[in-house]
Amino acid sequence: MIITQQKDIEEIYDMIKSYSKILIVGCDGCCQPPRSINEAKVLAQMLELKARSEGKELKWKAITVLRQCDDRIAATTVRPFIEHYDAIVSLSCGLGVVMMNKVFENILTYPAQNSLFGGAENNAENYFAEYCETCGECLLGVTGGVCPMAGCAKNLSNGPCGGTVGGKCEVGGYTHDCAWVKIWDRLRKFNRLDLFNKYRPPRNYRKWSSPRFAEINKTYTNEEETMEEEK
């Protein structure tokens, strides 16, 4: 899921202060912590208060969408509302905000969140962690299932660096685990230090360079093959 953090109310207000009617749109998708209808309402009220303190009146409506990052869902859910509003404030991650701007070309959608990372949920320890940076060339098969891109502050392919002490990383004041010591530990446990020892050559960073796209396949069929066979 995408981990987000709400921007300061000042920053959000600054973006929308020239408008008098705004549509505030939550997202029921994977955003964490949740940014749904209730969060949208609270944000709307805060903006209203802020406007009032500056002697202005702000009209708003809060709604939510199943997933703002899906063009069909965003379009069908939000379209009935937009014509009454000057601008949209979105509580979704960057994916949703960009998609809303793309789907609704004639109105600006502003972000209420900073999108932080794609996070895995560690409920036992109460935190989200970035376990994958979507590098496009997955190394987990040779690293014992520990990601050296997301887990290592220097994205090293042949770690660890000299900055590890007692299995902790120099970045973050020796509080986070060093991914490469973890990798070594895991591989040792499974008697696969041969994998550790292997040299991993420079990476292909084109696979990790923006912008990135992937095709959506809409249909599959075996008809053609069957017809060929029949012929």
Binding site: N155, N158, C161, G167, Y174, W184
Partner: protein
């Protein structure tokens, strides 16, 4: 892999089996390099220092580059440079270009390092690069020197590049397992020599040197003479994994207190403390290990070289 020729005087001397010393120079945020050249001159004058490392933005700080001071130290002082290069700030294109530039300037030793993360330095919000890691940098240098190409196999025109490349190793590494495997990988990729981080514990240092013997590459053990109590306690407290022996710390503290006003006397006492600690240390390493020598990181403390090394 077959041994690369010794292009530098450093590697030549190592291969001759002569116990040698290297020093360290640290360009900071400066446009005037006279203090660096002055330090290099003092090292050269001792007649005991084979080459000096020139650091590349240590602790992640934004400092004067390492290439130009390396060149000037060779050109103006006649002391061979060990040009430190980190992969923190430059991608493979910039690293390649710099190595070509350094080769044109006659630099002969390159120490390939990862580099302290920029988040530790004085421009914390910088985007760290790490396009290559230090192992891959050694691969790049090997391709340039041995094959005359870049990483993609594109040929370099002109004279052959004559550079020897070294790697770092950490005697304080904990756990040590991955460190040893990593050093081995670097040697397989073409590292000609190893310089270690600072050691204070003689037994640890000897153990570590013993483990490195399997790679059959000259090793310089890193030592860090302590110019004053402040540096020593900083080292002890803030450089994780490194602890300065208690006796050494308290002796330096005592010197600081007793000779607060008398700088000359204080320096004399501090030099004596360092000599009493490091001279037997070096002697022991020289006699009982296969180390090729000592990398003496006495930055801004060159006056110690003469008395410390007089018996070597």
């Amino acid at each position: 892999m077959t041994k690369r020729p010794a292009y530098s005087n450093l590697v030549k001397t190592m291969r001759e089996g002569k116990f040698l010393f290297t020093g360290e120079l640290e360009p900071r945020k400066m446009t005037d390099l006279s203090s660096i050249l002055h330090s290099a001159e003092k090292m050269k004058k001792t007649g005991k220092i084979t080459a000096a490392n020139v650091t590349d933005g240590p602790q992640g700080d934004a400092y004067t580059c390492s290439m130009v001071p390396s060149y000037l130290v060779q050109e103006k002082v006649g002391l061979e440079a060990i040009w430190q290069m980190t992969v923190r700030d430059r991608n493979r294109i910039a690293l390649f270009g710099d190595i070509l530039g350094g080769a044109i300037l006659g630099l002969k030793n390159l120490l390939a390092l990862t580099g302290d993360h920029s988040a530790l330095g004085d421009n914390k919000n910088a985007r760290p690069v790490y396009d290559l890691d230090s192992t891959q940098l050694i691969d790049l240098v090997s391709k340039m020197v041995d094959d005359g190409t870049d990483l993609e196999g594109n040929e370099i025109e002109g004279d052959k590049i004559e550079i020897n490349v070294g790697c770092a190793a950490n005697p304080n590494s904990n756990p040590r397992g991955p460190e040893i495997l990593k050093v081995g990988r670097k040697v397989r990729l073409g590292a000609d020599f190893i310089q270690t981080q600072t050691a204070f514990d003689i037994d640890d240092a000897k153990d570590f040197l013993k483990e490195l013997e399997q790679f059959n590459v000259p090793v310089l053990l890193g030592l860090f003479p302590l110019k004053n109590y402040g540096i020593a306690s900083y080292f002890d407290e803030y450089i994780p994994g490194v602890s300065v022996p208690k006796d050494l710390l308290s002796a330096l503290k005592k010197a600081k207190k007793e000779y607060k006003e008398d700088k000359k006397k204080r320096n004399e006492v501090i030099d004596k403390i360092n000599i009493e600690f490091f001279e037997p240390f070096i002697m022991e390493i020289k006699k009982t290990t296969k180390a090729a020598g000592i990398h003496c990181m006495a930055v801004h403390y060159e006056r110690l070289f003469e008395p410390l090394l007089k018996n070597f």
